[in-house]
Symmetry: C2
Subunit: 273 residues, 2 copies
């Protein structure tokens, strides 16, 4: 392991039990810009999608109609960079490690903060994320690769499942793959089903071809996972669905967090029962 990676690993461990506002401050001040897995365990980490006000009602209906992919945690007023419910002292322009700018259906740049791009008509949507479940997974003894391996990260794929459209927004459901040990399939499905705001139960278990995924090595986002012997591929709805819709609809501009660089909120993750 080279020195910078080691330094990063030390810092990552420090954030595991940090308060959400400490994570946000570190990111805002430039002390951290990589992924946020295992950060501020037990709090909701959010996907961020920023659209102009003229597309905001369409996007909010798109979230409501596709709640497994885009469970709504907070929505800002136009021009307000603060998620008043999810993180009253946060700032959506600075508190993700990196952002993607998509224009007319193409990813055109990745930027470190949004001060130069933020406008008075921008609306920010915060939607739930699988990483928010890391504490529940750890406590239940579920050995997910990304929980134990610094480099591992789920792969994401466009599935052959269409989202329910709303206004200009349409596109495929994006799913994230986690290989689950066969004897843990039922406990994992049972556990995740209790967390609707973290994508809930899987959308598919087993043969990837059944949801239009021909080759697990060809991820659309993230890194390929191998499926070890005695494991089954399990697919959850994924917040990157918003980026796929942005690419599909080709509106002039959408800004999102960069995959894995989530906005860490103050909201505590709680099961439904």
């Amino acid at each position: 392991m080279n020195a910078p990676a080691q330094a990063a690993a030390v810092t990552r461990a420090a954030f595991e039990h940090a308060a959400p506002r400490e994570v946000r401050r570190a990111i805002r001040e430039g002390a951290w810009s990589a992924n946020t897995k295992r950060f501020a365990l037990g709090h909701h980490q959010a996907n961020v999608t920023i659209v102009p006000e003229r597309h905001a009602f369409d996007f909010m209906r798109f979230c409501m109609r596709n709640p497994k992919a885009l469970p709504l945690l907070d929505v800002t007023d136009p021009g307000d960079p603060v998620p008043r419910h999810a993180a009253p002292d946060g700032d959506v322009r600075t508190d993700c490690g990196e952002y993607c700018v998509l224009r007319e259906g193409r990813l055109v740049e990745r930027v470190r903060d949004l001060h130069a791009l933020w406008r008075d008509d921008h609306v920010a949507f915060f939607t739930g994320c699988n990483l928010s479940l890391d504490r529940a997974m750890l406590e239940a003894g579920i050995p997910l690769p990304h929980l134990v391996d610094e480099q591992a990260f789920p792969g994401q794929f466009r599935a052959s499942i269409a989202c329910r459209p709303a206004g200009v927004f349409r596109g495929p459901l994006v799913v994230s793959l986690r290989p689950i040990r066969d004897d843990l399939l039922v406990p994992v499905i049972e556990l995740t089903s209790r967390y609707a705001l973290c994508h809930g139960a899987p959308v598919h278990v087993g043969d990837p071809a059944a949801i239009g995924i021909a080759d697990l090595a060809k991820v659309d986002w993230g890194r390929p996972n191998t499926i070890p012997a005695g494991h089954t591929p399990v697919f959850w709805a994924c917040g990157i669905t918003a980026q796929a819709a942005a690419l599909a609809c080709g509106i002039p501009e959408i800004i999102t967090h960069a995959p894995g660089r989530m906005f860490v909120t103050d909201l505590v993750v709680t099961p439904s029962h």
Copy 2:
């Protein structure tokens, strides 16, 4: 009891176990226009709020920020009178027994259907309702007055609790009063807490003055309830909060269902645990 009231009572009993689409058809065809209490038991009955598209994103955030009063069940596309999720063969223009038209902060008329008023930029919001809990209440043996008395109906009051504003929408939380027998307080609170889409747990138990209600005889909507000996007044957030916001914000036009004349959806009421 006079003859028309008796005829209505017979018809009401017939709707108790009717399918939601039968209730909607009867209302659409003019066979019923009074309140829908105990209708299609076990299905969500919805408050309806119709706003022009230019105010729809504000109103959707207002619902999201005040989820106990306005839990979202469905939102239509602009100009589409069909709630595609909640009632795919329904029509918001005809399937409530009566509608209120509020213009610039005043109730200006009540109409039987909306064909003459419906516009291409109209958006309809469907939000949860206490009446949706009638089956769960009956099964739990909770003797609410409106469940046993044809004439009884909860009273509703403007509370001294402000809603979280969103855009043009602001106003007081409206609460509905139900007198609960003291030995049933815990079971009723426990039961209702499981139904977030039906307003969830009460917002207040006991002294009405604590939430700004000086006189239980002076209702803002509905009819006064008496509080029998050995009962406690219990207050739940109420969907009429949308009408109070419409009156407070004074936008050019909002259309709602008339109180008690709910839109009966196909959605099945389920507890969270």
